[in-house]
Symmetry: C2
Subunit: 252 residues, 2 copies
DNA sequence: CGCTCGTTTGACTGGTGTCAAGCGCAGTGG
DNA sequence: CCACTGCGCTTGACACCAGTCAAACGAGCG
């Protein structure tokens, strides 16, 4: 396949996207590289319409605050972020984790304000696309819509999985399921090697994601440690017994 | 507004859609009526392409079984259905309830098989659209895509709400939240009058939707009865104290 | 009349939350 | 270099919400 070469020539060399580590698996790719079919219509024209701005933000800062109006849609280039809702009495629910190449959410492309917030978990490098430009790109180029639909289906599957997990599974199963999901998503990006990968989550984040208290998360992770299933240290995780971990995740 | 009249002329009088009670608020409307803008392009041509088949199914029958290949996308015309995943040991999680005018899920338009099943809760009258036809309709008519995006955003909001509810709320809050959500969705369709509406859910359905056991659902609903907040009987519900119900739904 | 299905109720159990204290470590400033 | 501090994690004691098991009831229906 030399499609990669073709893509590179279409992305301006000055753009940070030129060196993006996850470009091949991200939606940006379809967006930026223009129409896949070799055609004679000038691609540079619609190319110019797609404004994007790259930005950096420190850990714990909000990338988007719920219900704010914004013209932009955010894509994570580097680092981890998460989508969440803030509830009464300091409680919050993490709705999803955003990894490099992830959209804040594909539905955001069509809405100027959303009910959730987005916060950087590590230092994050992200990219803002103009929403209206994106919409025209999607209506004009059917293959971009197709690609978007794929992301959107994946998002729904993740959401449905979270609902089933929260509704039906025990604390151990929910936590191990979260670890497995993150592992698989990182593997798909080539960001996990020999069952060991970056794991910047605090136990508070895990708790907010799976609907438990940090205290109980600590107990469960402690069990996992003692059973020799995982090892978490220095913001890194190592999966020592993937089979065992999956068994726990699939049990009630 | 005489747009209603215009629409009627575009829907063949023989079609069940002609007398659909929720047509104005459903996605079918945008799909069937063709391009909104008065234009000279012949609408009858693309009209003919959109195959739809109407069907009826008894309560408790499955409309779709998880992971089956299908060429169709389903829309509920009449009655209630629900989307669910079946888990080990007879457990199941209800992911969402489908009311008249609802799509099985907007992401289904782009995928030939999905991880969830759909079951009729009451006797259901539904409509099958051909998926590929639908896709071309969406790519060809930008306003249909816009409309679809609206549904899709609503779906995400519902899913996010369910996640937050399951993760952070007490049994009382989850159950009252479910009742309120159904009430509001029925009101939007003109299917709820003076805080009283059809409520075909068994307590088992409520339990499977909010992640509790039927026994505990019974206890909570019993409390609601005794507190004079709602009255459920003969598959009908009456909201006696909406303020109180909302207070419970918003508390932890 | 005697099914079946859905609901209710009681007694008891257990998983998870709450509260509180202590530990280790990194950063910071003297 | 050392105290001080804050953050994240761990641990223990105890409380409580919700699950489990079992029995009984009522309504609809053949």
């Amino acid at each position: 396949m030399n499609s990669r070469v073709v893509e590179q020539t279409k992305i301006r060399r000055r753009s940070p996207c030129f060196t993006c580590a996850v470009r091949d698996s991200s939606f940006c790719n379809a967006l930026i590289r223009g129409d896949e079919q070799p055609s004679d219509e000038e691609p540079s024209e619609s190319q110019a319409q797609l404004k994007q701005v790259h930005q950096t933000i420190r850990a714990r800062q909000n990338i988007y605050r719920a219900r704010d109006e914004t013209e932009d849609v955010h894509v994570i280039c580097n680092g981890w972020a998460f989508r969440f809702v803030q509830l009464a009495e300091g409680r919050r629910q993490i709705l999803s984790f955003l990894l490099p190449g992830d959209f804040e959410s594909s539905a955001s492309i069509f809405k100027s304000h959303r009910p959730f917030s987005i916060q950087a978990l590590t230092d994050v490098h992200y990219c803002k696309f103009n929403r209206v430009d994106m919409q025209t790109r999607i209506t004009e180029q059917p293959h971009v819509l197709k690609e978007l639909a794929r992301f959107w289906g994946d998002e729904q599957d993740c959401a449905d999985h979270a609902i089933a997990s929260l509704g039906q599974q025990s604390a151990e199963a929910r936590i191990s399921g979260l670890i497995i999901m993150l592992m698989e998503r990182l593997r798909a990006r080539g960001m996990a090697h020999n069952s060991s990968f970056s794991f910047p989550l605090r136990q508070q984040h895990i708790a907010d994601a799976v609907g438990l208290t940090p205290v109980h998360v600590s107990r469960v992770i402690g069990q996992f440690h003692m059973a020799g299933i995982v090892r978490i240290a220095q913001r890194q995780i190592e999966i020592l017994d993937e089979t065992g971990l999956r068994r726990i995740a699939n049990a009630r």
